[in-house]
C-alpha cells in the first residue's frame, strides 16, 4: 500500500539577492519516513528547513507540508509541525519546565493535557530531575534534548531537526539518536533531519538526499546511494612477498570489475564491484600471476565515499568543528548558518 505524502516539494527556490541558497529543489517525503538531508556547511540545509517550516518565504516553487502549502496557510502548517532549529532557542532565564509549559501554551494546549505531556516528554528525554533548573545551567546535550522535547509538546505530525547533534560530544550525540529512534517508533512520526555527519544520516535515515550548493544531487536509501559508486567494495589482499608486486598489480588492473588499486606496503587495496562474489576470482588471479596471499579483508565503502562520488569533495570534520564553535547563543541570524 502506498503511504500518503507528508511533504511535497516542487521547484522550490529561495534566493538571497543573487545567491540561490535553495535552487529548484523537488522531492517528497512519505508519512512515517525518516528523511535526511546531507550536505556541507552552506549547502542550503537550514534555508530549506526554514522555508518548509514557514520561517522564510520561498522565492518561487511550491511546498506542501502536512496539510497545507507553506505560503498559503502558514498557521495551519505551524500547528502540525515541530521544529528543532539549528541554534539553541530555549529561554536561558526560564527553567526547563517553564520553557516547555509556555511553548505548550503558544499552541493553546489545555492545562491538564499540557502538564501531562510535558512530564511525559521530560521523562523520555531524561530531564525530569533537572526540570526545575534554569536552562542556563544545562549542558549542550541537555539543552538539545529539551529542544527536542519542546518540539514535540503539541504532538506534531512532522518533526524537523536542523543539524540536531552539531557541537555535541559523541556520547551525547548517541543519546540524541536513541531518542529519535524511540520517538519515531512510538508515535510513527515523520522526521526530517539535516546533517553533515555521515554516520548520522547512515544510521538513522530511511532515505537521504545529498544536497550541495542548493541542489539535490542524489536521493536514495543509504545502501542504494553507496551501491551507486563504482567499486563500492574494497578488498585488501596482503601478499607473503612483494617480489612480483608490479606484475600482479598489472594483471589485476586488467580485470573488468576492478576499478582502482592502491598499494600500501605488502597490501593491495582493490576497489571492486560486488566484492563478496568476486573475491575468489581475484585470489585466483593473484595465484596465476605467481603470488601468494597471506591474508584477506573485505569492507564496504561508506556514505562518505558516496558523498565524494556525487559532489566531488568531502565533508571534513574540521569544517564541522569551526561551525559548532560559532553556533549557539549570540550568533546573529544573518551570520548563523
Amino acid at each position: 500500500m502506498q503511504k500518503p505524502n507528508a511533504i511535497e516539494v516542487s521547484g522550490l527556490t529561495k534566493k538571497f539577492g543573487e545567491l540561490a541558497a535553495v535552487n529548484d529543489v523537488s522531492f517528497t517525503v512519505t508519512e512515517g519516513e525518516f528523511f535526511g538531508f546531507l550536505g556541507p556547511n552552506g549547502a542550503g540545509k537550514t534555508t530549506l528547513i526554514r522555508v518548509l517550516t514557514t520561517l522564510i518565504k520561498p522565492t518561487s516553487g511550491k511546498a506542501v507540508v502536512s496539510c497545507c502549502d507553506v505560503s498559503e496557510k502558514p498557521d495551519s502548517v505551524r500547528q502540525r509541525i515541530g521544529v528543532v532549529p539549528q541554534a539553541m532557542t530555549s529561554d536561558m532565564d526560564l527553567t526547563g519546565y517553564e520553557n516547555m509549559d509556555i511553548y505548550g501554551r503558544f499552541y493553546s494546549i489545555p492545562k491538564k493535557e499540557r502538564k501531562e505531556k510535558t512530564k511525559y516528554l521530560l521523562d523520555l528525554v531524561g530531564l525530569t530531575s533537572r526540570a526545575g533548573d534554569l536552562v542556563a545551567t544545562y549542558s549542550g546535550g541537555m539543552k538539545r534534548r529539551l529542544e527536542i522535547a519542546r518540539a514535540l509538546v503539541h504532538t506534531p505530525d512532522i518533526l524537523f531537526l536542523d543539524e540536531p547533534t552539531i557541537g555535541l560530544d559523541p556520547q551525547s550525540r548517541r543519546v540524541v539518536w536513541e531518542f529519535l529512534e524511540k520517538f519515531r517508533r512510538k508515535d510513527s512520526l515523520t522526521i526530517m533531519l539535516s546533517t553533515h555527519y555521515m554516520e548520522e544520516a547512515e544510521s538513522l535515515c530511511d532515505r537521504v538526499a545529498i544536497i550541495d550548493a542548493g541542489k539535490i544531487i542524489a536521493l536514495d536509501s543509504p545502501d542504494n546511494l553507496k551501491a551507486q559508486i563504482p567499486g563500492n567494495d574494497i578488498i585488501s589482499l596482503t601478499l607473503s612477498d612483494t617480489s612480483r608486486l608490479d606484475e600482479i598489480k598489472n594483471i589485476l588492473s586488467g580485470i573488468q570489475f576492478v576499478h582502482k588499486i592502491k598499494v600500501d606496503g605488502e597490501t593491495l587495496r582493490i576497489y571492486v564491484d560486488n566484492g563478496a562474489q568476486n573475491l575468489t576470482s581475484l585470489i585466483d588471479a593473484v595465484k596465476g600471476a605467481g603470488g601468494t596471499v597471506s591474508s584477506v579483508g573485505i569492507h564496504q565503502q561508506s556514505l562518505e565515499d558516496a558523498f565524494i562520488h556525487f559532489t566531488g569533495k568531502s565533508i571534513r570534520e574540521e569544517e564541522a568543528k569551526k561551525v559548532s564553535f560559532l553556533i549557539g547563543a549570540g550568533v546573529p541570524q544573518k551570520l548563523g548558518r
Binding site: R50, T53, T54, L55, I56, K57, D75, R78, Q79, I81, V83, P85, A87, M88, T89, S90, D91, D93, L94, E98, I102, Y103, R105, F106, Y107, S108, L134, R150, A329, G330, V331, P332, Q333, K334, G336
Partner: protein
C-alpha cells in the same frame, strides 16, 4: 487568550529573573531626580529681596507676613524692608538684592474694591533660575488674594517682570517630579517591550516562537502588555518615592491616585507602541540603545518637564503638539499641582489614547512574522 497570557508571562518572568535590570529601572530615575533637582537647586536658599511697602492696609500686611513665613520656613528668601523705592531698585541693579517688591499705596483698597490690584516686582533677570524662584515664591505670598490675576508693572529692558503664578507654590524640585516619572516610563520602554524582541532576535531565540501559531498581533500586544505591567509598577514606585522626597502632598486621595494611574498607563502604552513601531525591525540591541538615547532627549526636553512649553520657539511648540511626553507632563502637572480632576486633563488623555492606538496598529501591521 491563553497564547497572549503565555507571551506576557514569559516576558515578565524573564524580567524578574534579572535583578540588576530591576534595580536599575527603579533607582536610575530617582537618582536623576536627586541630581537634576540639586544641580539646579543650589542658589535657592536665602535669595535677598528688598521690600518697600507704601500701603498700610490689611492686605499689604498679609503679604509681608507671608514673606516672613517664607523667610522663616523654606528660607527661600531673605527679606530687607526699605522705605525708598529708588534705593530698592538701585540695589537690584548693583546686585545687593535679587529682586525688589514694591507694594503701592492703593493696594489694599484695590483688593477690596476688586479693581485689579498691582504690585511691582523688579527682578534681576540675568540669573534666570533664581528669578524664576523668586517669581514663584513671591507669587505664592500674594496668592491668598482671591483674584484671578495680580498683574505687575512691566518695564521691558533691563528689568523684567511677568504675571504671577496662579497656583500654590511649587518649588523647582517638586516641579521635576512629573518629568522624573516620564523618565522612569521611558527607561521602562527601553528595557521592556520591543527591546526584548530585538534581544530575542539577536540571540536567535525568536525563531522558537515564530515557529508556533502565535499571530503577529499576539506577539506585539503581548510584549507591549508585559512591558506595560513592568513599567507601570516601576513608574508608580518612582512616583511615590519622589513625592515623598520632594514633599508633594497627596491631597486628593483616591481620585487623584486614579487620575495619576490612568495617565501613567496611557503614557507607557504610547511610548511602548511608538518604540515598537520604530524598532520592530531592528536586529541588534545596540540600535535600540542608540535610538532610544536619542529619542529620550528629543521627547523629554521639549516636553515641558524641565522648562515650560510656552518658552519654546514656534517650531518646537509645534513639535510638542505631537509629543506624547508633553501631554503626559501637562496632565501630571495639572493633577499634582493644580488639583485638576480627570475632566481637566481629558484632552491629554484623548491624545494619548489616539496616539497609542495609531502606533499600535502600525506596529502590528509592520511587524515581520518571518525571519
Amino acid at each position: 487568550m491563553i497564547k497572549l497570557l503565555a507571551v506576557i508571562e514569559r516576558d515578565i518572568k524573564k524580567f524578574w529573573r534579572n535583578p540588576v535590570v530591576i534595580m536599575i529601572s527603579f533607582v536610575m530615575p530617582l537618582l536623576y531626580l536627586v541630581i537634576l533637582g540639586n544641580s539646579f537647586q543650589g542658589k535657592f536658599k536665602g535669595l535677598p529681596v528688598a521690600v518697600v511697602n507704601r500701603d498700610s492696609g490689611t492686605y499689604s500686611n498679609r503679604v509681608i507676613e507671608n514673606l516672613r513665613a517664607l523667610e522663616a520656613g523654606p528660607k527661600t528668601i531673605s527679606m530687607f524692608q526699605l522705605n525708598d523705592e529708588g534705593r530698592a531698585v538701585e540695589g537690584v541693579r548693583d546686585g545687593r538684592y535679587k529682586a525688589a517688591l514694591i507694594i503701592p499705596p492703593d493696594f489694599s483698597k484695590r483688593v477690596v474694591l476688586d479693581k485689579k490690584p498691582e504690585v511691582g516686582l523688579f527682578i534681576d533677570n540675568t540669573d534666570n533660575i533664581s528669578a524664576e524662584t523668586i517669581r514663584n515664591a513671591v507669587g505664592g505670598t500674594i496668592n491668598f488674594i482671591r483674584q484671578q490675576y495680580v498683574p505687575v508693572r512691566e518695564r521691558p529692558g533691563e528689568i523684567f517682570t511677568r504675571n504671577i503664578d496662579l497656583y500654590s507654590m511649587v518649588d523647582y524640585y517638586q516641579s521635576l517630579v512629573p518629568g522624573v516619572v516620564i523618565m522612569a516610563i521611558f527607561l521602562g520602554t527601553m528595557t521592556a517591550g520591543v527591546f526584548n524582541l530585538v534581544m530575542d532576535k539577536f540571540l536567535g531565540i525568536n525563531e522558537s516562537y515564530l515557529l508556533t501559531p502565535l499571530s503577529r498581533g499576539t506577539i506585539v500586544t503581548g510584549l507591549i502588555i508585559s512591558g506595560l505591567t513592568i513599567t507601570t509598577v516601576t513608574a508608580l514606585t518612582v512616583f511615590g518615592v519622589s513625592m515623598l522626597i520632594t514633599g508633594i502632598p497627596f491631597s486628593r486621595g483616591l481620585d487623584q491616585g486614579i487620575s495619576i494611574l490612568i495617565v501613567v498607563i496611557l503614557t507607557t502604552l504610547a511610548l511602548l507602541s511608538m518604540m515598537f513601531l520604530f524598532l520592530g525591525r531592528a536586529g541588534h540591541p545596540r540600535v535600540v540603545g542608540l535610538f532610544s538615547g536619542f529619542m529620550n532627549v528629543i521627547f523629554f526636553f521639549p516636553s515641558g518637564a524641565v522648562y515650560p512649553v510656552e518658552s519654546f520657539p514656534n517650531w518646537l511648540k509645534a513639535f510638542s503638539k505631537i509629543n506624547p511626553e508633553a501631554y503626559a507632563v501637562h496632565a501630571l502637572k495639572s493633577i499634582l499641582f493644580k488639583n485638576a480632576g480627570l475632566m481637566i486633563v481629558f484632552g491629554d488623555i484623548m491624545f494619548l489614547l489616539g496616539f497609542t492606538t495609531l502606533m499600535m496598529v502600525l506596529a502590528i501591521v509592520t511587524f515581520k512574522r518571518t525571519l
